[in-house]
C-alpha cells in the first residue's frame, strides 16, 4: 500500500524533556490517521516535524517519498497545516488572509481572489469575509484556519487539534467539513485529545504517550482492546459498594474502579448492562446512577498504560520545556 506519510524512529528533545522518543508512523494515501494523546504527549511535536517546522534529533520522515529535512521545500508544496498554533493573521480580514496565502503560493491576483471567494463561500464565511479575523467566533476562526490551509489544494492535510475549545455544534460542523475533504481524496493526519473525534474521523488511530506510540489500529480494533464504553454504577447504600464492584467486575470481565461512591468498569459487550441490572435487582441493590458512556481518553489510557492520562490543560505546554506536574509518576487510583 502507498504511504503518503512515513516516519521512523523520530526523536526530539527540548532541553531536558524528551518530546519524541522514537515515533514510528505511517499514513496510507487517502486515509485519515488519528494521533490520539493527552496534552504534552508529543502530538504537536510530531506534526511540526512532519510539517518541516522542526528538525528531528534522530530518525527520518518522508511525505510522498520526500524527506522532510533534506527535501523540505517539496514537502511544503504538498501539505496544508492547520491547528492550534498555525494561525491566521488576526488583524486582516478573512478575504485578505486567504488572498495573502494565495499570492504567497504564486497565484496571479485574480486567481487568488477567486480562490479566496470560493473557499469563503464553501466555509460559510462570505458574510464575514471583509471583517477583521479577530472579531470571528471560535468556530469561524477554525473554519478560516482550515480554509487557509486549503488554498493551494494540498493533497495532504495536517489538522492539529482542530476542534479543541470549540462548542459541540461548531465541532460537529468542522467534522462534517473534514469528512468531505477526505471524501475528495485528501490524506489527513489528525491529532486530538478526544476519543470520539478520532473514532468519528479516523481510519486508523495511534495512541501516543510520553513521545511514544503505545497502541495502534483501526478504531474498532482499539475499542475491542481497550473497551469502548464505561459502565458506571452508584449504589444508594455505600455498604453495598463491594457487592456492586464484584458483580460489575464479574460481568464486565474487567477490574472495576471504585472512586468515592461510584463503581466504573470498561465494557466491550453491550449485553453487560442488562445483565448487571438483572443481577443487582436480584440482589436487591438500589442504585442512584447507572450509565453506559463512551470511554474518555483517560479511561483508554488507564487500560493501555495503567496510568491516567493526566488532566488535559494542566500539563506541560509542548512548546516550552516546563515539566508536567507529576505526570510520569501518577499512581493508579486505588481499585
Amino acid at each position: 500500500m502507498d504511504h503518503a506519510i512515513w516516519a521512523e524512529g523520530l526523536v526530539k528533545h527540548f532541553g531536558e524533556t524528551k518530546a519524541l522518543d522514537g515515533v514510528d508512523l505511517a499514513v496510507r494515501t487517502g486515509t485519515v490517521l488519528g494521533l490520539l494523546g493527552p496534552n504534552g504527549a508529543g502530538k504537536t511535536t510530531t506534526v511540526r516535524v512532519l510539517a518541516t517546522l522542526l528538525r528531528p534529533d534522530a530518525g527520518r520522515a518522508t511525505v510522498n517519498g520526500f524527506d522532510v529535512v533534506s527535501d523540505a521545500h517539496r514537502v511544503r508544496q504538498l501539505i496544508g497545516l492547520t491547528g492550534q498554533y498555525a494561525s491566521v493573521d488576526e488583524t486582516l480580514t478573512g478575504t485578505e488572509n486567504l488572498l495573502l496565502i494565495g499570492r504567497l503560493l504564486g497565484m496571479p491576483r485574480a486567481q487568488a481572489r477567486q480562490r479566496a471567494k470560493e473557499l469563503l463561500a464553501q466555509f460559510e464565511l462570505t458574510e464575514a469575509a471583509s471583517r477583521a479575523t479577530k472579531t470571528y467566533s471560535g468556530g469561524m476562526r477554525r473554519r478560516l484556519d482550515l480554509a487557509a490551509s486549503l488554498v493551494g489544494q494540498p493533497p495532504l492535510l495536517y489538522l492539529d487539534e482542530p476542534t479543541t475549545g470549540l462548542d459541540p455544534r461548531a465541532r460537529v460542523e468542522l467534522w462534517e467539513l473534514i469528512r468531505r475533504l477526505v471524501a475528495g481524496g485528501t490524506t489527513v493526519l489528525l491529532t486530538t485529545q478526544y476519543l470520539d473525534e478520532a473514532d468519528v474521523l479516523a481510519d486508523e488511530i495511534m495512541v501516543i504517550d510520553h513521545g511514544r506510540v503505545i497502541a495502534a489500529g483501526t478504531p474498532d480494533e482499539l475499542k475491542a482492546k481497550t473497551g469502548s464504553q464505561t459502565l458506571a454504577v452508584r449504589p444508594a447504600d455505600d455498604s453495598q459498594l463491594p457487592l456492586v464492584a464484584s458483580v460489575v467486575g464479574e460481568l464486565a470481565c474487567a477490574t472495576p474502579d471504585v472512586k468515592g461512591h461510584l463503581v466504573t468498569a470498561q465494557v466491550t459487550d453491550p449485553r453487560v448492562l442488562p445483565a448487571v441490572v438483572r443481577r443487582l435487582d436480584d440482589a436487591g441493590v438500589v442504585v442512584t446512577e447507572l450509565a453506559l458512556r463512551t470511554s474518555s481518553l483517560n479511561e483508554v489510557f488507564l487500560t493501555l498504560t495503567g496510568h491516567p492520562a493526566g488532566e488535559p490543560g494542566g500539563e506541560r505546554d509542548e512548546q516550552t520545556d516546563r515539566p508536567r506536574a507529576g505526570e510520569r509518576h501518577t499512581e493508579r487510583s486505588p481499585a
Binding site: 498555525a86 495573502l100 477583521a132
Partner: protein, 281 residues
Amino acid sequence: MTAITTTAPATPELSPRVSPLDGVRQSLTLAWRTIVQVRHNPWELGDFSFQPIMFVLLFTFVFGGAIAGDWQDYLQFMLPGMITMNMLFVTMYVAQGLNLDLTKGVFDRLRSLPIARWAPLAGRIAADQVKQAWSIVLVLGVGLILGFRIGTDLAQLLGAVLLLLVFALAFSWVSVLVGVVARDPERVQIFGFTALFPVTFVSNVFVPAESMPGWLQAFVNINPVSILSDACRALMLGDKTVGTPWHVASAGPPVLQSLLWAAVIVAIFAPLSVWAFKRKI
C-alpha cells in the same frame, strides 16, 4: 456548505527550491500585508505619528528657549536629531510585529508554506522602511511648519533621508533580535524604553555635547545617534549653522562614520539574530 473542491490528489510538479526572484515577490506580498494592517488599524499610524509630533512641540517650545535662548534657533538644531531618534524608535515596530507573528502562530503557518525562508523577515523589514519614510516626512513636515529652514539643496536633503533609511535597515537587525528573544510584545516595548531612551538621550540630539561633563562627552561623541544626527544636520543645514556651537564643518566625516556604524551593527547583530531565530523555531 456546498461541495468542496479542494484536492488534487495527483502529485503536482514540485520545484526543488525557491528562486530568489520568487523570494523577492513573496517578501513584497508579506510587506503588503503589514501595510494593510496599518490601514485596518490607523491608530498604529498614530502611535508613530503623535509621539514624534509631541516631542517636536515639547522640546521646541518648553525647553528650546532655555537651552538655546531662542526656540527658533533650537528648532534648527534639534530637528535633524529628532528625526534620527524617531527613526530608531520606529525600528521597534519590526520587533513588535515579528514578536506578534511568532507568539500568535502566524509565523508557523508562513513557514509551512513553500516560500523562501527569509521572505517573512524581509517582508517585515521592507514594510518597516515604508513606515520609516512616512515618519521622516512627518517630523520634517511638522518642523517646516514650525519654521525649520533647510540650508542645503534637495539632493542633500534626499541624501539625509537615504542615510537614515540605510541606518534604519541596519538597525532592524537589532530589533529582529529583540523581537525573537522577547517573550511577548509588551516586553518589546519595555526594551524600547529602557534601552533606546538612554542611548538616544545621551547623545547630541537635544543639547550639544560640549555642555556635558567630559566623561559623558566621550560616550556622546562615539554614540552613533550623535554621529548620525550630525550627518543629518550637515546635510540639511549646511553652512546655515556657521557660528553656532552645533555647526558641522563638513558632511563627509559624519556620513562615513554613520555608514561604518551601520556596517558594524549588521556585522554583530545579523548573525546573532539569525542564530537566535533558528534556535527559537
